[in-house]
């Protein structure tokens, strides 16, 4: 019997595990995918080796890389870009940590209060979550991003369209700024030396971000750095090491146990005092096919926005209002590419270190990609092929020609202009929670873990506000690129790219359209909490979700400790330990 079993070692689960391990609870973390304990051995800096969604070391599939990836049904043009493995999707994330906009919380009374998804607010105020933002920001830690060439180009564009600079963590108006990101600022020779196998670029002569440009391929820089001092604070570099070393940095802490290659196939429940109560899980070992069952006082589901509803449904847990899997938000991304006649440094430095905010509408950020991914992004479209067919769309605006994918000579010439003479802007839409965008179980054949999820997005039938917001931000992105000096601007009109995922098991004020109560406990299954992005009430207004999800998971850990272990909350009373702390380093090495 464990105190707590956490299902999933992605962006959220390790946060609960670390916090509760620090309180001395017996925590087991089960991760379906691999654990890359030795990146120098497991990883390279090649984009196909890393990011191929079928074969890459950062993919969504079993730990054994020779086995096929996991199939998920997507009955539309779309791409689910989630990762299995310790660290989950934070392994390839860009580390960006903006706070959710205040307007998506209950009680917000700003002049723009009607501009948000007001039907699906968080069931508490922004001020309630603020201390948890601060706690996570201090733990990761979150810092102001260093500036490279592509940030300079982006800022020039933002200045050019007249946006003011934001100098606070809380967003209150249309503005631009360096990212607040979970990437350690460069120190020593980091960012000052170009090279390979140069001793100056090894830890400790270099600390923090070396501007290597491989965020998407997983971060282990500077070379030779202890795991908890790698520049990018994906949970495999931050929260997981802390959870595993809790006794060394927390008085009374107890080391969490982590088992990878362990796919949870069922959450068990029992009836107790007239209530349905979670009391354990069954998991399957990928390498052997053996199954194990273990009981726990509390179960924390953190398998992600697609897998959490799948596991819920496969466990035949209650779903009386039919909202399990519904309300899936994805920031309905779009992609705008600017071609320049000058160096933009697109492939150098953190993949995205600058952003702009449009509260009530969304936001945007610059993104640099490697050549194959760059072309993937340029071809990923719901608007057909530019100059040939529009697939019923092909919007026109301040970009060149109709929106759509480039093909043939145009596509090739765009890259031959120079991968470091282009700048991408990711359009991040403040999108509405809608019942129609959802996870169900697929009718296609089950895999060894049960029926697989089917993820349906009706991108052309999104709410009017969502569609309007996307057009607004896409136009700002194109104008920004022009103001920065782009010679040609292409809007791709992406179909759903499920990368920022939120709210498919949402918390909410109303029991008519939410799965979780305000404590992130399941409404119909006691002692079952959800601590991944699916617990978020909405799409946060557009800010990248990881920080808010981690802040909420910290709050959830406190609720678990108070409700079921008779403990006191700590975030208001204590100071957090930073994940780069020397005691963590010493315990790892």
């Amino acid at each position: 019997m464990r105190d707590v079993i956490v299902i999933g070692a992605g962006g959220g689960g390790p946060v609960v595990a670390k916090e509760l391990a620090a309180r001395g609870l017996d925590v087991l973390i089960l991760e379906a995918g691999p654990r890359h304990a030795d990146p120098d051995r497991d990883w390279t800096h090649y984009e196909n080796d890393a990011n191929n969604p079928l074969t890459g070391f950062l993919r969504f599939g079993p730990a054994g890389r020779e086995a096929p990836a996991w199939y998920r049904e997507t009955p539309q043009n779309s791409f689910i870009w989630q990762l299995s493995g310790v660290g989950g999707t934070t392994q390839h994330y860009f580390g960006n940590c903006p706070r959710a906009y205040p307007g998506v919380f209950q009680g917000y009374d700003g002049a723009d209060r009607d501009a948000y998804d007001t039907d699906h607010l968080f069931p508490f105020g922004y001020e309630e979550l603020a201390p948890y933002f601060e706690w996570v920001e201090a733990t990761l830690p979150v810092q102001t991003a260093a500036m490279g060439t592509k940030e300079q180009v982006f800022f020039r564009g933002c200045e050019g369209i007249g946006l003011p600079v934001q100098t606070t963590k809380t967003t209150t108006e249309d503005s631009f700024r360096p990212q607040q990101n979970a990437i350690l600022q460069p120190g020593g020779f980091a960012g000052k030396v170009t090279g390979r196998d140069d001793p100056r670029l090894r830890y400790p002569q270099a600390t923090g971000c070396t501007f290597c440009g491989y965020c998407m391929q997983g971060c282990s820089k500077p070379a030779g750095a202890p795991r908890n001092l790698a520049a990018k604070r994906s949970t495999d570099n931050s929260y997981v090491p802390m959870a595993l070393t809790a006794p060394s940095w927390a008085a009374g802490g107890r080391a969490a146990e982590l088992i990878a290659d362990a796919v949870v196939t069922r959450i068990h429940t029992t009836e107790r005092g007239g209530e349905t109560v979670a009391d354990g899980v069954t998991w399957r070992v990928g390498a052997t096919g053996e199954t194990h069952r273990e009981d726990a006082r509390v179960v924390v589901l953190a398998a992600g926005c697609t897998e959490s509803p799948r596991l819920w449904l496969n466990s035949r847990l209650p779903n009386p209002n039919d909202w399990v899997g519904r309300g899936y938000t994805d920031h309905f991304f779009d992609w705008v590419i600017g071609l320049f006649d000058e160096d933009t440094g697109s492939t150098r430095g953190a993949a995205s270190a600058a952003r702009a905010e449009f509260p009530g509408r969304g936001g945007m950020e610059n993104v640099g990609l490697t050549p194959g991914l760059q072309q993937f992004a340029a071809v990923f479209s719901d608007s057909g092929i530019r100059g040939h067919y529009a697939n019923g769309r092909g919007q026109e605006g301040p970009w060149d020609g109709a929106a759509g994918r480039m093909i043939g000579p145009e596509l090739k010439d765009a890259l031959m202009n120079g991968v470091d003479r282009l700048l991408n802007i990711l359009v991040i839409t403040d999108d509405d929670v809608e019942a129609q965008n959802r996870v169900t179980l697929s009718a296609l054949p089950a895999d060894e873990h049960g029926p697989v999820p089917k993820v349906a997005f009706h991108q052309r039938k999104r709410s009017a506000r969502t569609l309007r917001n996307r057009e607004f931000v896409s136009a700002r992105a194109a104008e920004t690129l022009r103001a920065a000096g782009a010679r040609k601007v292409v809007r791709v009109d992406w179909p759903p790219l499920l990368l920022h995922v939120q709210s498919s098991m949402r918390m909410g004020a109303s029991d008519a359209d939410s799965v979780l109560d305000a404590n992130a406990e399941a409404r119909w299954v006691k002692r079952l909490f959800i601590a991944d992005n699916s617990a978020l009430a909405n799409s946060l207004g557009g800010p990248n979700p990881t920080l808010t999800s981690q802040a909420l998971a910290t709050r959830t850990a406190e609720k678990i400790f108070q409700t079921y272990f008779g403990g006191d909350p700590w975030v208001h009373a204590e100071a957090p330990v930073v994940s780069t702390d020397a005691r963590v380093t010493a315990a790892l090495t």
Binding site: H45, A69, A130, T144, M147, K169, G191, T347, P371, G372
Partner: protein, 295 residues
Amino acid sequence: MSVPSRDLGRRAFLARMGVLGAAAAVPALVAPSATATPSALSPLVGLLRPVLAELSRDTLRGLVVMVCPGPDAYSRAQGTPRAEAGALEARGDDFMIAALDGFVPFPDQLATPLAAALATAVDDIGLPLPTGLLAPLFPPVWTLDRVLLELLENDEALPLSLVVALLLNVVATQVNPLALTGPFLAPFARLSLEQKCRAFELLEGPDAELVALLDAGLPEPLRSSISGLLTFLAGALLEFSAFGSYNEWGVYDASARTVTERPVGWQLSGYQPDGVVDGWADFIGYYQDRTEVQA
């Protein structure tokens, strides 16, 4: 020689998928042997398999040059020849075959009925084919037809590249019936870039007749899945071709965990001229010298 109408229909369809043309080089496969028994078919299945593999490769070559044309015959055929290296030099065709056949977690339970639907459908979709074009070219095709069905129904792991190739070729002949003949094995590879785009328009639309054709072969409850599947597939084929034609896969040595030469995509784009780095000297400073902000 008179040709029964059903035979003509089947022949037309085999031709549209590219199978008939590809098999023409193997006389036993296209011999008029309507009485062939199942046991007599088995060795022929073994003959057909490599023929279909070549057809798949030829079709996928026509696909990958869409996203990265180069100095090759396929790029010339689509009307966009280029002097510098392209998808074929990057081994984009090998990338697609390896990915489709080895790693796409696409359920056989879906792939096999899809292929069977393609293979068993009569030529009643889309444009009527000019039968006059066919009759003088090929002998009766009973044998080939039966061998193909035998293969599709009994192969345990049907190559997904073949399903994709059959689909692209059927749509290619819908766009341009004249693509039935010409250079290459695959009708799709004979199209101009504009016509290939038109083929993708039909897939992505998706074209109602195409959906009806494929739906008919699927068991319930999968029937309604086909339209979404086609739009997904159309996008994924182009996206994955682009990823594979511009990344390092073609020159990557997995055992040494390094590239053996500079990848085509790097040459074309100027990506990291001196190869993999541990860092770049690109740290300019902090915007307005602000290294931290308050809440």
